[in-house]
C-alpha cells in the first residue's frame, strides 16, 4: 500500500510539473471576423490586433494559444455557421468576435446556448448581450452600446454643432443602424431639436437619389448617417453632389481607412462618435500603437484597439480561471473591473457591457482628428 501511494505521488508530481515546465497546455480560441465583403477593413484590423494580443500573452501566460480564425463576410448566416463549427468541431474554449452587431447577435445566441464564453470588441447593439428580457451570461463586450452612442451623437449635434433640425438616413435591415437612428431621434427631439426626415433604405441600395432629393427639400442643419463606412461614403457623395451643405454626423461604423478613399472630399468635415482616438496619451495605448504600427505600417483604428482589449480581457481571465473551460472562464470574466486597455479603463456592467467614455472625431483630408471626449 505504501509503495502504491509513493508511486502515485511521484506520478502526480511528474504530471503536474511536466505540464508546467516541459510544454504548456494548448488552449483553442476562435476568432470570428469579416475578412472579406463590405466591411473587410474592420476584419483585417481585428485580426491584426488579435494576433498581437495573443503573442503578448504567450510570452508570460499559462497556456499556449491555438488561434482558429473564421471569416463571417459580415453575413449573419455565415457567422452562425462559423460559430457552430468552432464550437462543435474545433471545440474552442472561447470566442472573440464577431465584429458587427448583425453577425454578433445570432452568434451570441449560439455561444450562450453552448456555454462558450464570447467577447466581442465592437458589436454595439444591446441585443448582443441581452435579448428577450434575458441576459446572455456567457457574452461580454469591450465597447459601449448603441443607446449611449446615439445619445452622445445627439447631444453633440445639439450643443456643439448647434443643430436645430436633423435628417436621419438609416439601413432598415441592420440592427446597428436602426438602433443608433432611433436613439439619436429620441435624444434629439427631447433636446428640442426637430427631426426633418427619418428615412430608411436597404442593405444593397446604391441609389439614394429619391431620399436625398427629399432631404434637400427640408434643408436640415445636420444629416445623421449611422451606418458602416461603405454606405456612408456612398451616401455622402450623393448628398454633396445634390448640393446639400448640411453637416454630416455618424457613429463608430465610420472608422475605416476606406471611408476617405471612397467618400473623398464629400466626407471631409463630417463628425463621428468613436471608442478611442489614436491621439490618446496613455502608456498601454502608446505601446499598442507602437507595436501595431511597427508590424502593419498603419495607426490602428478603433476596431483594432477594441479587438486588442477584448482579447486582452479574455486572455487575462483565461489565465486566472481554474481550468481553461467555459464556466471557469465565465466566472472570472464577469466581475472584470478597471481593466487597463488601449481604449481606456474597462469594466463590465451587470449585462456584460463595457462602461466607458466616448470620443468625437472629425474627418479631415489627412485622417481623423480628435475633437472631444464624452463621459457616460
Amino acid at each position: 500500500m505504501k509503495t502504491m501511494l509513493c508511486i502515485l505521488t511521484v506520478l502526480c508530481l511528474l504530471i503536474c510539473t511536466g505540464g508546467n515546465t516541459l510544454a504548456k497546455e494548448t488552449v483553442k480560441i476562435g476568432l470570428i471576423t469579416p475578412l472579406t465583403g463590405d466591411v473587410k477593413t474592420y476584419g483585417e484590423s481585428v485580426k491584426n490586433a488579435f494576433n498581437i494580443a495573443v503573442e503578448e500573452y504567450e510570452k508570460r501566460g499559462r497556456y499556449r494559444i491555438q488561434v482558429i480564425i473564421a471569416d463571417d463576410r459580415n453575413d449573419a448566416t455565415e457567422g452562425a455557421n462559423a460559430a457552430l463549427k468552432l464550437i462543435t468541431q474545433d471545440r474552442v474554449s472561447a470566442i472573440v468576435g464577431p465584429v458587427t452587431s448583425k453577425v454578433a447577435i445570432p452568434v451570441s445566441d449560439i455561444a450562450n446556448q453552448h456555454k462558450v464564453p464570447m467577447i466581442t470588441g465592437t458589436a454595439t447593439s444591446p441585443k448582443v448581450t441581452y435579448s428577450d428580457k434575458k441576459r446572455k451570461p456567457y457574452v461580454f463586450r469591450a465597447c459601449f452600446i448603441d443607446p449611449f452612442q446615439g445619445i452622445v451623437a445627439a447631444n453633440f449635434a445639439l450643443k456643439d454643432l448647434k443643430a436645430k433640425t436633423a435628417a436621419i438616413l438609416y439601413d432598415v435591415s441592420n440592427d446597428y443602424s436602426k438602433g443608433l437612428a432611433e436613439n439619436f431621434r429620441t435624444t434629439f427631439t427631447n433636446g428640442r431639436g426637430t427631426i426633418a426626415a427619418f428615412e430608411s433604405y436597404q442593405k444593397d441600395d446604391v441609389d439614394f437619389s429619391a431620399l436625398i432629393t427629399k432631404v434637400a427639400l427640408k434643408k436640415p442643419d445636420l444629416i445623421f448617417l449611422p451606418d458602416y463606412y461603405n454606405k456612408v461614403a456612398l451616401i455622402a457623395r450623393q448628398v454633396r453632389e445634390k448640393g446639400i451643405k448640411s453637416a454630416i454626423l455618424g457613429g463608430d461604423g465610420w472608422d475605416s481607412s476606406d471611408l476617405l478613399k471612397i467618400g473623398g472630399n464629400a466626407i471631409v468635415g463630417g463628425y463621428f462618435v468613436n471608442h478611442y482616438s489614436a491621439d490618446r496619451k496613455d502608456p498601454v495605448a502608446a505601446s499598442f500603437i507602437r507595436t501595431y504600427k511597427a508590424r502593419y505600417g498603419v495607426v490602428p483604428d478603433t476596431f483594432a484597439a477594441l479587438a486588442y482589449d477584448a482579447a486582452g480581457i479574455l486572455l487575462k481571465a483565461l489565465d486566472a480561471a481554474k481550468r481553461p473551460q467555459s464556466d471557469d472562464i465565465m466566472k472570472v470574466l464577469a466581475p472584470t473591473k478597471g481593466y487597463r486597455g488601449a481604449t481606456g479603463l474597462i469594466g463590465f456592467s451587470r449585462n456584460g457591457d463595457a462602461v466607458k467614455s466616448a470620443v468625437i472625431l472629425k474627418v479631415e483630408k489627412s485622417g481623423f482628428k480628435y475633437v472631444t471626449t464624452v463621459n457616460p
Partner: protein, 300 residues
C-alpha cells in the same frame, strides 16, 4: 410650384435609373425573342462590365471612350462564350433545362468572380473618369437640375437604342435575327446560319449589359460581385412589363420601373419600393402577360 419642381427632380432621378435598366432589359428581351430563354446570367454580365471598366480605368488609366469600347468587346466575348458553353448544347432540350442552366451560370459567375484571385468579394470604389457637374435650369418657375452623368446616361441609352434599331431593321444580320425569332426551323431551311445569329444576339445583348454596368458604376460609384442581382431582376421585370421580345417595350418598361422605384421611395417609403415593383410584375402577368406592347409581331 415647389412641389412640382420636387416631383420633376424625382422623375429625373427615376429616369436615370430607368435608362440603365433599359440597357439591361434590351439584352433579356433580345435573347428571349430568339431562344425563348430568360437568361438569368444577364445581370452578372452587367457586373462583369462594371469590373472590367474598373480595371481599365484604375490600372491602365484608359480614356473613357476606349473603356466603353474595350468593356463592350470583353462582355460581348463573355456573352458569346456563355452561349457556346452553357446554352448551345441544350438547344433542343426542354425549356426548363435551359432555364435551370441559366440560374447555374448566374451563380457560377457570381461566386467565381468573388474568389480572392478574381475580383474578390469586396466592395470597391469605382473611379469616376470625370467629376460630377450639376447644371441648374429654371423654366417658368419650375426648377430642376441635371448632372453630366445623367446627360451621358440618357445620350448613350438612346443612341444605343437607335443603333440597335438600325441593326435589326436595316441590316442583313438583323433580318436573319428577325427570321430566326419567327421560326427557327424555317429560317434554317432558308439558309440562315442559326448558330451565328444566336451568337450575334448574345454578343449584342452582353455588350449592352456591359455598357449598362459602366454607366451604373459611374452613377453609383461602388461595385461588388453581387451588384448585378437586383438590377438584373428589375430589368427582367422591365422587359416583361414592356412585353418580352419587343425592343422598344424593354426601353419603356425600364423607364417605368426606374421611375416607379424612385417615386415610391420619395412619396411612400423605400421599404415598399421593391414590393411595389414586384406587384407590378404580378399585375402584368395576371392582366396582360404579353406586356404593354405585347401581341405585336416586330419581335427580334
Amino acid at each position: 410650384m415647389e412641389q412640382a419642381s420636387y416631383i420633376l427632380s424625382q422623375v429625373i432621378n427615376g429616369l436615370q435609373l430607368g435608362a440603365v435598366y433599359a440597357l439591361i432589359a434590351l439584352g433579356y428581351t433580345m435573347v428571349y425573342g430568339i431562344l425563348r430563354l430568360i437568361n438569368f446570367a444577364h445581370g452578372d454580365i452587367f457586373m462583369l462590365g462594371a469590373f472590367i471598366a474598373y480595371f481599365l480605368l484604375s490600372r491602365f488609366g484608359m480614356p473613357i471612350y476606349l473603356v466603353f469600347l474595350a468593356t463592350m468587346a470583353v462582355t460581348a466575348l463573355a456573352g458569346y462564350l456563355m452561349e457556346k458553353i452553357a446554352y448551345k448544347p441544350l438547344r433542343n432540350a426542354p425549356k426548363i433545362s435551359l432555364l435551370i442552366t441559366a440560374v447555374g451560370v448566374s451563380l457560377f459567375l457570381e461566386y467565381f468572380c468573388s474568389l480572392k484571385a478574381v475580383f474578390t468579394p469586396d466592395y470597391i470604389a469605382f473611379p469616376r473618369p470625370f467629376e460630377v457637374e450639376t447644371y441648374n435650369f429654371s423654366l417658368g418657375g419650375l426648377e430642376f437640375s441635371f448632372t453630366n452623368i445623367q446627360v451621358l446616361i440618357f445620350a448613350i441609352t438612346f443612341s444605343a437604342l437607335v443603333l440597335l434599331y438600325l441593326l435589326i431593321y436595316r441590316t442583313k444580320q438583323g433580318k436573319a435575327m428577325r427570321a430566326v425569332s419567327y421560326d427557327r426551323e424555317t429560317a434554317a431551311l432558308m439558309g440562315i446560319n442559326i448558330d451565328n445569329t444566336v451568337s450575334l444576339t448574345f454578343m449584342v445583348g452582353a455588350a449592352l449589359a456591359g455598357m449598362g454596368g459602366i454607366l451604373y458604376a459611374m452613377a453609383y460609384p461602388q461595385i461588388n460581385v453581387f451588384m448585378g442581382i437586383m438590377p438584373g431582376i428589375k430589368s427582367f421585370i422591365a422587359a416583361v412589363l414592356g412585353g418580352i421580345g419587343i425592343i422598344h417595350g424593354a426601353v419603356i418598361g425600364g423607364l417605368i420601373v426606374g421611375t416607379s422605384e424612385v417615386i415610391v421611395s420619395a412619396f411612400l417609403s423605400s421599404t415598399y419600393r421593391d414590393g411595389v415593383i414586384f406587384i407590378i410584375l404580378l399585375i402584368v402577368l395576371l392582366v396582360k402577360p404579353s406586356g404593354i406592347f405585347g401581341k405585336r409581331i416586330d419581335k427580334v
